[in-house]
Each structure stands twice: as structure tokens, then as C-alpha cells.
């Protein structure tokens, strides 16, 4: 198990390294004039050149890359125009916001996690539950409804669902406040009330996909010989299906859930923009609009970290659920 873990961690680190190279290379492709968009009013050639110097854009590419990486692990000095000393993990300085990117992220990541984690619990529970049940009740009205639900959800757009939810609950029924973020530790009730629409929108769309997947998976498993054998031996329905079939059917779904973190991150970008909640996604969209390159670069890296970590966790879970993985 330990060897498996180490191998997995090394592979993850390699992927992150490759992502950082790609992201960095992409930003290096930029023409130097992009600095001009970051320069505030009354910008002149001298000022522009000083900014480039401070951003390190005049250094060789290799030095820029190592400097950036050094900043993440041990911190570095960014120069007076960028707020001076930047402690690890330093992700650079955002000119448009006038603060270190790390500080911005420390503020917005809890918001995004508050959206994604409850939503993911909802969509996994709802999706897998619905899929399993409709497989067990194949051909009934319930099954047909579940199929209809997943087809609708799979063709819906997040911002459309989000907008409809806003129109119904906030503007027409007026039973919910406009979406906003309140810290969970401050007031759990406000936290839930402000984010529940975002959870619902995400959960509806994503659970549709999982309902469909787990239904197909469960149907396949139910047709296996060992499930029939278990039933023939006299195991009750709930034991044979709940213990034998469920465990086999759920493994591939866990993998897909892990691979889907990228999709979920993309989902929060749209959700946050629709509901006007200032999380990681909306920050990234605003950074793009304002040409705030250091924030965009950091967003790419952070998202890649989320994805790689999620994949490692999934592989470990997989190894726990399915012992064969550990041995191979």
C-alpha cells in the first residue's frame, strides 16, 4: 500500500510539473506590450520598462520559471512596486487588485469549497441513489421518470437552471435571500441560505450524469453470475444487491467522480458568475477581463493541484474498495 501511495504521489508531482511548464510557456508567449494593460494611468516608457524589470520579464525564461517556483516553496522578494517581501506560498502580485495573489486566494477558496463540497455530496448521493434505484426497478414508472430526469439534466445549461432558480425562489416566491457568501463559522444558517441555490443548480446537472452512469453500471452488475448465485444461496434481496452488487457497481463511478473534478471546477466558474458569488471562478473570470495575468496563472496552477490531488485520493479509495488494484 505504501509503495502504491509513493508511486502515485510521484506521478502526481510529475503531472503538476508538466502543467506548470505548459502554463508558464503559454504566458511567455505573450508580447511584452501586455504589461501596458496592467500599468495604471500616466504610463510612460520608463515606467513600463521598470514594471517589466520588476515582473522579471527581462530575465531569461529559465530564471523566470525558477523564480516563480521558488516563490511558491520558500517565498521571494517581489520588489517595492509589488508589495515587497512575499512569503511562501507566493503566487505573485496582482496589480489590478493591489494585493498578493495568495491573499486573494485565501479569501476566495473557502467560498468555492463551500459551493463545491456540499453540492458534490448532493449530486453524488442523488445521482447514484437514483441510478441504483431505477436499475432495481427497471421498466417501472420510477425508472422512466429517472431516465427523463437524467436526460433533461444532461442537456440543461447551468446558467439557465441557475437563472430559473433565481427567478422562482428569489424574485417570485421571495423565500430566499439573493445568493451571497457568509462564513460557515459565523452563521451556518445564513451560509446555507446564501448558497443553497448554487448547490441545487450544480447538483441537478451533475446528478443527471451520475444517475445515467450508475444505472447502466448497476444493470450490468445485476446481470452477473455471482449476484444470481448470492440470491440462489438464499441471501435476501437487500443483502445480495446492497452488499454484493452495489460494491462492484460503485467502483467505476468513484473513478469517474474523481476525474470529474475539472468539470466541477468549470461548473463553479459558471455558477459563481450566474449567482454573483465571489469565489475562485468569478475571480478568474474577472482577472481575464482585467488582464490580471498573475491571478490567471495562479488559478490554472491551483486548479491543476485540485485535480491531481483528487485523482490521487480516488486512486487510494479505489485501492481500498478493490483489493486487486493494490496487488497489481
Amino acid at each position: 500500500m505504501l509503495r502504491f501511495l509513493i508511486k502515485r504521489l510521484l506521478l502526481g508531482a510529475l503531472t503538476l510539473f508538466a502543467v506548470s511548464l505548459v502554463a508558464f510557456g503559454m504566458f511567455f508567449m505573450l508580447p511584452r506590450d501586455a504589461v501596458a494593460t496592467m500599468c495604471e494611468k500616466n504610463c510612460n516608457a520608463e515606467r513600463l520598462d521598470r514594471m517589466r524589470d520588476e515582473l522579471g520579464l527581462n530575465d531569461p525564461l529559465f530564471d523566470q520559471y525558477t523564480g516563480y517556483m521558488k516563490g511558491i516553496f520558500v517565498g521571494r522578494d517581489l520588489g517595492s512596486a509589488q508589495g515587497g517581501r512575499c512569503d511562501a506560498p507566493c503566487l505573485g502580485y496582482s496589480y489590478t487588485n493591489g494585493e498578493e495573489v495568495t491573499d486573494i486566494f485565501a479569501r476566495v477558496i473557502p467560498v468555492t469549497l463551500s459551493i463545491v463540497i456540499p453540492a458534490a455530496i448532493l449530486w453524488l448521493g442523488l445521482g447514484i441513489g437514483l441510478g441504483m434505484l431505477s436499475a432495481l426497478k427497471r421498466g417501472t414508472v420510477f425508472d422512466r421518470l429517472a431516465i427523463g430526469f437524467s436526460l433533461t439534466g444532461a442537456s440543461m445549461q447551468l446558467y439557465f437552471v441557475g437563472g430559473i432558480l433565481l427567478i422562482v425562489f428569489v424574485y417570485t416566491l421571495k423565500i430566499l435571500p439573493p445568493p451571497r457568501y457568509v462564513s460557515l463559522w459565523e452563521n451556518p444558517l445564513d451560509w446555507a441560505a446564501g448558497l443553497v441555490l448554487a448547490w441545487m443548480a450544480l447538483a441537478f446537472l451533475f446528478s443527471a450524469v451520475y444517475a445515467r452512469l450508475s444505472r447502466a453500471q448497476m444493470l450490468e452488475t445485476l446481470a452477473e453470475d455471482y449476484v444470481r448465485t448470492a440470491r440462489a444461496k438464499g441471501l435476501t434481496k437487500s443483502k445480495a444487491y446492497g452488499r454484493h452488487a452495489l460494491r462492484a457497481a460503485i467502483t467505476p463511478i468513484v473513478t469517474i467522480a474523481g476525474l470529474d473534478v475539472g468539470g466541477a471546477l468549470g461548473g463553479t466558474v459558471i455558477t459563481e458568475t450566474t449567482f454573483g458569488i465571489q469565489g475562485l471562478g468569478r475571480t478568474a473570470v474577472e482577472a481575464v477581463r482585467l488582464g490580471d495575468l498573475s491571478t490567471i496563472m495562479a488559478t490554472v496552477l491551483i486548479s491543476a493541484v485540485f485535480i491531481v490531488v483528487a485523482n490521487i485520493v480516488v486512486d487510494l479509495l479505489y485501492a481500498v474498495i478493490d483489493p486487486r488494484v493494490r496487488l497489481s
Binding site: T15, A18, V19, V22, A23, M26, F27, M29, L30, P31, D33, A34, A36, T37, L151, T152, A154, S155, M156, Q157, L158, Y159, F160, G163, I164, L166, I167, Y171, R212, A216, L219, E220, L259, G262, G263, L265, G266, V269, I270, T273, T274, A284, V285, V288, R289, G291, L293, I296, M297, T299, V300, S303, A304, I307, V308, N311
Partner: protein, 333 residues
């Protein structure tokens, strides 16, 4: 040679799956014909196919629709907009002249903008699907047939591309690429934006098809007809594209038809976030993004474009599902 020709019947997707032996008095039916008949019996697929076709024709013939409808996508009807910038009349200003009502503030006709939006969306989605499918086929077939280090490299690239978050990457690519070609204050041309979006989809979208084709090729490459072709001295190109490819059309067709709605969604999402199509070009994503400001006063402005894009994606998805069922009757949904 005649044996080879039977094996590589261009319409056949799996030569062993459907044995068609001409019986007494019966006309032999090709696998393609059988699939078509199965598709025609599937009512859901046929209905959604017709709606899909209608929407596509509507989008493609947008200028003609404009001529018949008599209103252009950029015309403003300020006299029908109230002081609070909402359209006059009920349901967002729906009337005999303006079938789907008017946009708040600018007072442009929603119906004709949707028709043009359909055209933009379909143009981007189908070109992206064609390009990604082509790249996916070539790389998948090469990786699957050649194996070895070429397969290892292509597979690693696929895994790597899957590890990148598409939307976040798109957010990063759009400004960097436009900054490369345009100054900070320049107006960015619409064709350029469309090209960058298609490029983005192409960069990320080919992996699915490549994986699928690779898997299929691995199971096909040891078959007798490939061996026979190799034995009779066929070149690599001939084996890949004349022998193997004709056996892959069915799964490729299915992934293609399911890729299109995916790109329709993707295009609308990018435009919604302000990194795809921008005002004043008519587009679903832009319309919905604008409508969020008027949700309280004019909900129809959100509901109509939202419903049209839902219908478009749903019919494409249902038709794609039907196509899969028809081409591969063994698969269960």
C-alpha cells in the same frame, strides 16, 4: 481480394455482428440499411431528429429568415421600450411583430437574434466536432495499430490533456492568444474569436475520440483481414485508412453526433463568461449573460434563449443516443 472486399464493406461497422444471408426470395440488406431501419423505428430519435433538422435549417438559412421576417438582428425598437428600459407589453414584449419579444434596453428583436445565434453556435460546434474527430481518428488509429512508444507517448498526452481543467484553461488561453495578435485597445474581429474558440475545442476535444478509436483498433488489428492485407504487401497508409477505418465508422459517427451538443454547450458557456463571442454579435451565451441583469423585471429574456439552447442540445443528444442504439444494438443504456 474478393474476401477482403467483403470484410471492409464501407457501410459495415462490425462484419461479424450482423450476418446477412440472402434467403429465398429476400433481398439481402446491408448493415447500414439495417441500422437505418432500426433508427426509423425509434420514435424518440426520429422526432428529435426532425426538430434538430428544423433548427439546423433555421440557423443555416438565417439571412433568408430575416428577409421573410422583415426584421434584422441589429435593428432597435426603442419606441417599444419603457423608461425603466424594460420592453412594453406582456411577457417581454411578445407580439405579432416580435414573436419572442424584445431585448430590454436596446430593444432588439429576440427571435431574429436567436436565429442568428443558432447559426453562430452550429458553425462553431460542427467545425469543432469535425476537427476534433479528424485529429482523434488519426492519432487513435496510429497509436492503436503501431503500439510501442508511439502509443505510450500519445496515451500520455491524452491523460495529460484530461488532467487540465478545460474551462479554466480556456480562461487563460483566450486573453493570451488575443494579446498576441491584437493591441490592448484594438477591436477583436469576430472571425478571429471564432477561430480561437474552435482551436481551444480542438486542443481539448480530440482525446475522447482518440481513446475510443485506439481501443477499437487494438481489438481489430489482429484480425485476419488486416493480416491478409499485410501479407499481400499493403502499405501502412492502406492498412490504417482503407482496411481499419471503414470498420470504425459506426462508433465514430456516434461520438461525432454526441460531440456536437457538447460543443454547443461549451461555446455558449465561454460566451456567457465573456471570453467567446461578444456583443453585438447574436449569441446564446451572450444573451443569457445579459439577461441576468433583468431577471426580476423581464424573466422571458432568460427563459426564451435558455429554452431554445436546451431544445437544441436535447434533440442532438437524443438523436445521438438513437444513432448509437441503431448502430450497436448490443449496447444497453
Amino acid at each position: 481480394m474478393s474476401m477482403l472486399q467483403i470484410e471492409t464493406d464501407p457501410a459495415g461497422m462490425d462484419p461479424t455482428a450482423v450476418p446477412v444471408a440472402p434467403e429465398r426470395g429476400m433481398v439481402g440488406r446491408s448493415p447500414g440499411r439495417l441500422a437505418w431501419e432500426r433508427l426509423r423505428r425509434n420514435r424518440t430519435a426520429m422526432v428529435s431528429g426532425w426538430i434538430m433538422l428544423f433548427l439546423v435549417v433555421l440557423g443555416v438559412s438565417a439571412p433568408l429568415v430575416e428577409l421573410l421576417y422583415g426584421i434584422g438582428p441589429y435593428e432597435q425598437f426603442q419606441d417599444r421600450i419603457a423608461n425603466n428600459s424594460l420592453p412594453l407589453g406582456y411577457l417581454g414584449g411578445i407580439s405579432g411583430d416580435h414573436w419572442f419579444g424584445l431585448e430590454p434596453k436596446l430593444g432588439r428583436d429576440i427571435f431574429i437574434r436567436l436565429v442568428y445565434g443558432l447559426r453562430t453556435s452550429l458553425l462553431i460546434a460542427t467545425s469543432a466536432a469535425v476537427i476534433t474527430t479528424a485529429i482523434g481518428i488519426v492519432l487513435g488509429i496510429v497509436a492503436g495499430y503501431l503500439g510501442g512508444w508511439i502509443d505510450a507517448v500519445i496515451s500520455w498526452v491524452i491523460d495529460f490533456a484530461l488532467a487540465l481543467p478545460f474551462l479554466i484553461f480556456a480562461l487563460a488561453v483566450m486573453p493570451t492568444v488575443t494579446a498576441r495578435f491584437y493591441g490592448p485597445r484594438d477591436e477583436i474581429d469576430v472571425p478571429f474569436r471564432i477561430a480561437v474558440m474552435i482551436l481551444l475545442f480542438a486542443m481539448f476535444g480530440w482525446t475522447g475520440t482518440a481513446r475510443l478509436v485506439r481501443g477499437q483498433v487494438i481489438s481489430l488489428r489482429e484480425r485476419e483481414f488486416v493480416e491478409a492485407a499485410r501479407a499481400s504487401g499493403a502499405g501502412l497508409g492502406h492498412i490504417l485508412f482503407r482496411q481499419l477505418l471503414p470498420n470504425l465508422w459506426a462508433p465514430i459517427l456516434v461520438t461525432f453526433s454526441l460531440a456536437v451538443p457538447g460543443y454547443i454547450t461549451g461555446e455558449a458557456a465561454l460566451s456567457f463568461l465573456g471570453i467567446g463571442i461578444v456583443e453585438p454579435t447574436p449569441d446564446f451565451g451572450v444573451m443569457i449573460s445579459n439577461s441576468l441583469d433583468y431577471m426580476d423585471g423581464d424573466p422571458m429574456y432568460l427563459i426564451i434563449p435558455g429554452f431554445v439552447i436546451f431544445l437544441l442540445v436535447l434533440t442532438f443528444n437524443l438523436f445521438g443516443d438513437g444513432l448509437r442504439d441503431a448502430l450497436d444494438p448490443k449496447s444497453s443504456r
